[in-house]
């Protein structure tokens, strides 16, 4: 039974590394917003429920293999024809059923909850996201500015990301804020996130899109409301405009650094969705201005 001890030992060490690791290293486990927190809670809940089964199974395995090993002087009972026990089988159908039932309830509850903006928080802001080969472009419809490979957002306000792709589909993921959602050509999908803690976090393209996919991370600067306004103002005053031609240039496959723009062609996000196949979809609901609807609630 050396095998189990060794495995257990490795696991133990890993757990130690894991527990003592600093929080920024594990953004998924130490999220800074309500969406990520909900998800983290489910992660912990499911891990604990699973441990309730796994640990006894491993312990039982170790015990059984030790006790019933084939040694000449082993006096443990040997019953080669014992193959049935309704009570035992009842128990181990029952345990997983209960555990799965509990987990299912929480899963369904949070699956529905996460389609809505985080409750009891500030006024939502909206950001339109386009994944390109191999960079991210962000449009701020309310502020009128645009950025490449980084975003600034105000702390404490829910952000509605609208996602599309003008390249193969990617997936938009900021682990410290919460889970991902795909960016797909011809569609505009929505994702709610929120950050409550000022700081800089990393976002990523999570779905493979070819050659330089590995270079598709972006920075997320979470700022105080006033700093955010400051930043918008600065962009408006100092940055160049993003023109149609400029966007075409950006669209060419390649890697670029961070960029800022004071303005962009107004309907560019909508046009991108439409030209990539959005016109074939029943897209009305997607393309509606949701910020109005949200402000009403």
């Amino acid at each position: 039974m050396k095998s189990l001890w060794q495995k257990g030992f490795i696991l133990l060490i890993l757990c130690l590394i894991f527990l003592t690791g600093c929080s920024e290293k594990y953004p998924v486990l130490h999220p800074v917003g309500p969406v990520g927190e909900k998800e983290r809670n489910l992660i912990i809940l499911s891990a604990v429920l699973m441990a309730i089964v796994i640990i006894p199974v491993i312990a039982l395995l170790a015990f059984i293999v030790y006790r019933y090993r084939d040694k000449p002087n082993n006096r443990a009972p040997y019953k080669p024809n014992w193959d049935d026990s309704k009570i035992l089988e009842f128990v181990w159908w029952g345990i997983p059923i209960i555990i799965i039932a509990v987990l299912s309830i929480y899963t369904v509850r949070d699956t529905f909850a996460l389609t809505k903006p985080p409750a009891n928080t500030g006024e939502p802001i909206s950001i339109q996201v386009t994944s390109l080969d191999w960079k991210w472009v962000f449009f701020y419809p309310d502020e009128g500015v645009a950025t490449v490979n980084y975003i600034d957002i105000p702390a404490g306000r829910p952000v509605q990301f609208e996602l599309t792709s003008d390249a193969p589909m990617n997936s938009f993921w900021i682990p410290a804020l919460g889970g991902q959602e795909y960016t797909m050509p011809g569609m505009a999908m929505r994702l709610w996130l929120q950050a409550n803690k000022v700081g800089t976090y990393t976002g990523k393209g999570a779905n493979f899109t070819g050659k330089e996919f590995s270079k598709m991370s972006f920075a997320v600067h979470v700022k105080k409301e006033t700093d955010f306004d400051q930043w918008v103002k600065a962009l408006k005053n100092q940055s160049p405009q993003l023109t149609e031609a400029g966007y075409k240039q950006l669209k060419k496959p390649g890697v670029v650094g961070k960029k800022s723009f004071s303005s962009y062609p107004k309907d560019i996000f909508h046009d991108t969705v439409m030209k990539n196949g959005g016109k074939y979809m029943n897209n009305d609901w997607m393309m509606k201005d949701h910020s109005q609807e949200m402000k009403g609630k």
């Binding site: 953004p27 998924v28 199974v57 491993i58 019933y68 014992w82 181990w92 949070d110 795909y182 899109t209």
Partner: protein
């Protein structure tokens, strides 16, 4: 003219990489070596008569096994290259293009050209023997299946030196794989290699389902079927229902690529989501196609090496069947984050978790099969014992992934990578190895060396945990899958480094298996009894290796563990031989057609890869002709005379 040829060749062959040139040289030398040896030893005829044209399930099984081990080697080298690249940040050992090709070929090969043929090897070797049958239901088709797999795999692997490897992942999602983003022939190799071998897999599914339903020895009711055979039933049912989805997905994508159609483009009314749906409608059941037979192997091994009946046989059967049905209703858990509504996600989340229930029950039944038994730690049992904790964890992380909102955070991360390696290695690969060790004496008539096998076991197992446990944490750190490099400030370095060490340990484990096989060929202990493990099922009632016709007399079955029961009654097939007169045995004739037909498939596939339609058409024409020839062949069976049977049995000391 010369210029013309040169420019063609530089596109046709993969060029510009010392590593590729080195492999070119190695491949050519290897081929020359084989050709030379065969010619020198005058073995060509033997190869054709005994192997290429064989319809004997045992030989086909051995050919599957050899191919699968070779593919395991190739896939393993791919893995080590990737882990070398990722061991430290900002490495330039591989560039993006190569890394992308390698992770694609690794995944595709390991699932379709390693796990599948390895399983089919064990289906072939064990199922007819466990049933008390003389061959499978359709021996000719069985040979067709093998050669389609073989040439499909060959076509896929050819992309390494000709045309360039596919590089869009084993999942091959459009629009990345559409012409607009991926011109090269690599993706075509993927589509055609899998398509051709997929036809073979479908045929295997049908073949073994019919074999088990129709060819059981008298008295072997379904409730007396060995559990391995039950798991094959479950797996074959899934194959039959799942593979058509893959066939359609690949065919439509191929049409998109060669004929510029728009099934999966966003424009002109196509929709990539349709590919993703079809792919996972096959893809999720596929993971159960490969893991259920492994469950069957564990069931046989646990019972044999505990000297005890399997606990809760009926429950085992019921849970297999539940899994094979429910595994059909969970596919969308592979894309919780592609914009499905909360209702859809909830349905697929709960359905996925439900699979954990019958799986958990099976684990408890295995445990209680050992309880009050006598556990012998032989190699097959060691791998089975290692499977239980490993797979329990893999299943648990599977359930964690099935929690849809949590999956928004795991999806596409290394957490996912760790999950499926834990299930595929800890569940499937361990089972394949357990099965290989278990049935090896039956295949070849000698056992594999225990001591070398233990070295392999420990290197591989420790290596596994060192390699994959850190990847769960990398997932929590936000490391995404399929990245070819990362920067040092991500904080991912130490876990990646540890993980790479683990990969190398597993590589050493594999080498030990190679050494073990070579050593045992020369020094391995011969199995003269035919029953080296004190087995329970019918394959152990006959000589090792089994004679061509398997059973001189088809045994009568009166109990579940048929051979165990015979032994308990003091009965044996030798006694049957002594009591009853030998009769002529009806057997299928060898045929070269399956091989020739698969060659035509290969030619056709190659034509499609390069859009050379004349060649594609020629190949298909050849396939058609082969089918017509076969349909008109009335001379495909023969009788082994009773005297020959008697002589063979006498030579085996069994009269």
């Amino acid at each position: 003219m010369f210029e013309h040829i040169r420019s063609f060749a530089s596109h046709f062959f993969v060029t510009g990489e010392p590593m590729i040139y080195a492999s070119d040289v190695a491949i050519v030398l290897f081929l020359v070596g084989i050709i030379f040896t065969l010619t020198y030893l005058k073995k060509w005829k033997w190869l054709w008569r005994e192997w290429i044209t064989t319809v004997d399930h045992k030989k086909i099984g051995i050919m599957y096994l050899i191919s699968a081990l070779l593919m395991m080697f190739r896939g393993g080298v791919d893995a080590l290259l990737m882990r070398t690249q990722l061991a430290l940040p900002n490495q330039t050992f591989l560039d993006a293009e190569h890394y992308n090709q390698i992770f694609t070929t690794h995944g595709t090969i390991m699932i379709l050209f390693m796990a599948m043929p390895f399983l089919f090897a064990l289906f072939n070797i064990a199922v007819p023997l466990q049933l008390g049958a003389r061959d499978v239901a359709f021996p000719f088709l069985n040979s067709v299946s093998f050669w389609l797999f073989f040439f499909g795999a060959l076509l896929f692997n050819l992309s390494f030196v000709i045309g360039g490897s596919p590089d869009a992942g084993w999942t091959s999602y459009p629009p990345l794989t559409e012409l607009g983003f991926d011109k090269g022939p690599g993706e075509n190799f993927y589509l055609l290699g899998i398509q051709i071998s997929g036809i073979g897999s479908m045929a295997t599914g049908i073949n073994f389902l019919v074999t088990i339903l129709k060819m059981r020895a008298p008295g072997m009711t379904l409730m007396r079927l060995p559990l391995f055979c039950w798991s094959v039933v479950a797996s074959c049912i899934i194959i039959i229902f799942a593979f058509p989805a893959l066939t359609v997905a690949l065919a439509l994508l191929l049409i998109d690529r060669v004929a510029d159609a728009h099934f999966f483009t966003m424009l002109h009314g196509g929709n990539p989501m349709m590919f993703i749906n079809l792919f996972w409608i096959w893809g999720h059941p596929e993971v159960y196609i490969v893991v259920l037979p492994a469950y069957g192997i564990y069931s046989e091994v646990v019972s044999t090496f505990s000297g005890k009946k399997i606990f809760g046989y009926k429950t085992m059967v019921i849970s297999l069947m539940i899994i094979s049905v429910v595994s059909y209703f969970v596919w969308a858990h592979h894309y919780f984050t592609m914009g499905a509504s909360a209702g859809v996600n909830s349905f697929f989340a709960v359905a996925s978790m439900l699979i954990g229930i019958p799986t958990g029950v099976k684990v408890f039944n295995w445990l209680f099969t050992m309880f009050r038994g006598r556990i012998q730690l032989k190699l097959p049992m060691l791998w089975t014992l290692a499977f239980i904790p490993c797979f329990a964890m893999g299943g648990a992380t599977g359930i964690m992934l099935a929690v849809a909102p949590a999956d928004y955070q795991y999806h596409n991360s290394y957490f996912l990578i760790a999950h499926f390696h834990q299930t595929l290695i800890g569940g499937v690969a361990f089972g394949l190895l357990a099965g290989m060790y278990y049935w090896w004496p039956k295949m070849f008539g000698f056992s594999l060396n225990e001591r070398l096998g233990r070295w392999a076991f420990w290197f591989f197992n420790i290596g596994f945990y060192v390699c994959f446990m850190p990847q769960y944490f990398l997932g929590f750190m936000g490391m995404t899958r399929r990245v070819y490099t990362y920067s040092g400030d991500t904080g991912w370095t130490s876990f990646n480094f540890i993980s790479s060490i683990g990969a190398y340990l597993m590589g050493i484990g594999f080498l030990f298996i190679v050494v073990q096989v070579l050593y045992s060929i020369k020094y391995g202990e011969r199995d003269l009894t035919g029953d080296p493990w004190n087995g329970r099922t019918l394959e152990w009632a006959i000589a090792s290796p089994a004679p061509h016709y398997n059973f001189a007399h088809i045994p009568e079955v009166t109990e579940r563990d048929a051979w165990w029961d015979m032994k308990a009654r003091g009965e044996s097939l030798i006694k049957v031989n002594q009591r009853m007169a030998f009769k002529p045995i009806h057997m299928p004739k060898n045929s070269g057609l399956p091989f020739i037909m698969a060659v035509f498939f290969f030619i056709s596939g190659f034509g499609f890869v390069f859009n050379w339609y004349w060649m594609a058409a020629l190949g298909l024409l050849g396939v058609g002709i082969c089918m017509i020839v076969r349909s008109n062949n009335r001379d495909s069976e023969y009788y082994i005379p009773a005297e020959d049977v008697e002589k063979t049995e006498a030579a085996l000391g069994r009269v």
